[in-house]
Amino acid sequence: MAHIQVEEGVPGIRSLGMFRSETGKPLYDLAQVLLRGESPLSEADRELIAAYVSQRNKCVFCSSSHAAAARCLYSDAKDIVDDVLQDMQQSGISDKLKSLLHIAGKVQISGKEVLPEDIAAARDLGATNREIHDTVLIAATFCMFNRYVDGLASFTPTDPATYEAMGERMKNGYSLPQPIKK
């Protein structure tokens, strides 16, 4: 049960976006531009950063749904998502993406945990200003989303099949859900 009265049966941030569309609109716009807008990072890699940070925040709704979206986007290489969520450093992703996920993990603890050597390591592996910027903003934004979703105890489905279907929809992008007509 959510801490406030939201539309019953609507999961996670969708129920909160419908509760207050004025704030829902810029939040969905932000998710869309961060995860689907033009960026040197692939959509799959960006979803993976979102899922990784959400898992570290123990936000079951956000980590399950964005992991599902990342699996859809990685397609044949989808096993990489669960490998990263299990043990990022031992997974088969590129060293550059590992260095960016390492920065995202630092942002999840606190912005001030990100040290010059973390940035230098990413740069040595070829990360650009834009890639570092987008990584930090995705990590920071998902810390906000995770706290928003769990701070109001919004409905978190437990059936993996629900998230699989959600991932398929999320692949096509993010837009504010319309209120249900009564």
Binding site: E22, K25, L27, L30, G37, V114, N129, H133
Partner: protein
């Protein structure tokens, strides 16, 4: 020094916002609704206080010191400062004329070509005349 070259030296969140305007737009819209909108049962002061309190717990010096202001505390001086801050925060979002009209300061808006004037109301659509 910022970790990445933001190509500007604006303070705090304004630097990365100018670096990437596509993400700045929804972030600014969110801040505007959460903090500035009058349509809220919490006052604007209370909402800034929540922002400053959370920022201080997050140890973010820029965000929690943003409200510190050392100028005069007369109504005029505070209004001038607030209008200046809104000018930066809401850059290119079309609030300036409405702000100036609200405080009866339209005469301070620049007229940079002879023969131009500053309107004090919106024109009526033809269908409503």
């Amino acid at each position: 020094m910022a970790y990445i070259d933001l190509q500007n030296d604006l303070p705090g969140i304004r630097g990365p916002m100018a670096f990437r305007p596509e993400t700045a737009k929804p972030l600014n819209e969110l801040a505007e609704i959460l903090l500035h909108s009058e349509n809220n049962s919490l006052t604007r002061g209370e909402r800034e206080m929540i922002g400053a309190y959370a920022s201080s717990l997050n140890d973010c010096f820029f965000c929690h010191n943003l409200a510190v202001y050392s100028g005069a505390s007369t109504t005029d001086a505070l209004t001038t400062e607030m209008l200046k801050q809104r000018r930066y925060s809401l850059f290119y979002e079309g609030h300036r004329w409405i702000d100036m009209r609200r405080y009866n300061l339209l005469s301070q808006l620049p007229v940079d070509r002879t023969g131009d004037d500053v309107w004090d109301k919106f024109p009526l659509p033809v269908t409503e005349q």
